[in-house]
Amino acid sequence: MKTLLKRAGVAAGAVIIMIESVVALTAVKPLEGYVCMGLKSDKEFNDWVPGSMGPKPGGPEDPPVFQAPTEGSRLLGYNSSPVIVKWPVNEVGGFVEMLRLGGEKGWIKGDLLVPYGTVVRKDGTVIKKDKKCIPSLMSNGRIGFDIRAGK
């Protein structure tokens, strides 16, 4: 009987472990007071160059994020698109307040930002992708993106 109970316990444990591993990363709720914005670029990801390699991490391709609205302040890191921008926009001296994925407030140059999903080509033509992004608190407790199709 004890053996049976032990086996049942092991089986139950295995079931629970299995259940624990079925997860979904979902957007729990939108981050009030923030919007997604993109970074200026004349490239789409469609512009593949087979065999090319991305630049070094932290290189000039991704703009720096500072602790305060000045380049003299501490560098927090770099940001790729999308950028989580404080809404309504808080712009100070050309820098715009933003939120990093770890929840830290930062400042990024405002003239690098475009509406999310926008691509600007060198000839000035603008492409708007049919997608939208809502900065959200995710089911893993972190900040993330709820990205949907549509305008």
Partner: protein
């Protein structure tokens, strides 16, 4: 990240008999093959993007932003137990160059498991050719290999590294470049404030390049993959990605090959 997900889920699961029964049903549903994508001919790199001077100024969006978020309903789940028998490390270590790859990983500051996961997904750890200049167990393109191998050699002057293109045909030598590329990926995500990136987190960088990798790592499972990586239809097809493939399905396709290694940290 995934570890945190698991912790979160663990905290929520304190089920009684009836609740367990319901969850078992859910688990069976979630573990079903959701129509998974496959990856081949990888990695693909994106053209680096750069802010261009002189581009037109944009005004910020007017009115209230759309914050009708949520997105949890109907989202696909990801089953981290989808491949209980998966053991990429054993697969890699069964190769003559397996230990050399582990040593390469250590030198680059990444785990041997992360390289094992990559080679299993890319080639089942076989030294084979791929599309274009892609070759080797890590399926690197020539250009990516050359840049990464030179970076690795510069950072490890005490190691004997063949930085020529010919060196790519030696899997242990290609492992140097692959390990460096993974380290670069992890550093890139950290720069984007994604701490302690997992093998799943850097998979997006390895497959789709730097550009969309942070967005992909932070996107919900229900997000449309194409809308993030913005592949051309031809490249999408070559990667087994359809216009309806979700991020969750893409994550599941990776987990199906590497099992629990998916949520292991990349960096030592």
């Amino acid at each position: 990240m995934v570890t945190k997900i698991l912790r979160s889920v663990r905290a929520k699961i304190a089920c009684g008999v009836l609740a367990c029964a319901g969850l078992i049903g859910f688990a069976e549903w979630a573990s079903a093959d959701p129509g998974l994508v496959t990856q081949s001919g990888l990695p693909i790199q994106v053209q680096p993007t750069a802010p261009e001077l002189g581009l037109p100024q944009f005004s910020y969006p007017a009115g209230n932003p759309d914050t009708s978020g949520g997105g949890g309903v109907g989202s696909s789940s990801v089953n981290y137990n989808a491949c209980p028998g998966c053991d990429p490390t054993t697969t890699m270590m069964a190769q003559s160059w397996g230990q050399g790859a582990v040593d390469a990983a250590t030198a680059a500051g990444v785990t041997g498991d992360s390289l094992a996961a990559t080679c299993v997904v890319e080639s089942n750890c076989q030294n084979i050719g791929g599309a274009g200049t892609v070759s080797g167990p890590f399926q690197m393109t020539n250009a990516t290999y050359l840049q990464a191998i030179q970076e690795f050699a510069a950072a490890n002057p005490d190691l004997s590294v063949d930085t020529s293109l010919a060196g790519k045909s030696d899997p242990a030598n290609e492992a140097y470049a692959a390990a460096q590329y993974e380290a670069d990926a992890a550093q890139y995500l950290q720069n984007n404030d994604i701490p302690n990136p997992t093998n799943l987190d850097i998979r997006g960088y390895y497959q789709f390049g730097q550009g969309p990798s942070a967005e992909l790592a932070a996107a919900s499972d229900s997000a449309n993959l194409e809308s993030i990586v913005q592949l051309s239809p031809a490249v999408m097809a070559a990667n087994g990605i359809t216009s309806t493939t979700t991020v969750g399905q893409w994550r599941q396709s990776y987990i199906n090959k590497v099992g629990s290694l998916a949520d292991q940290p990349v960096l030592l």
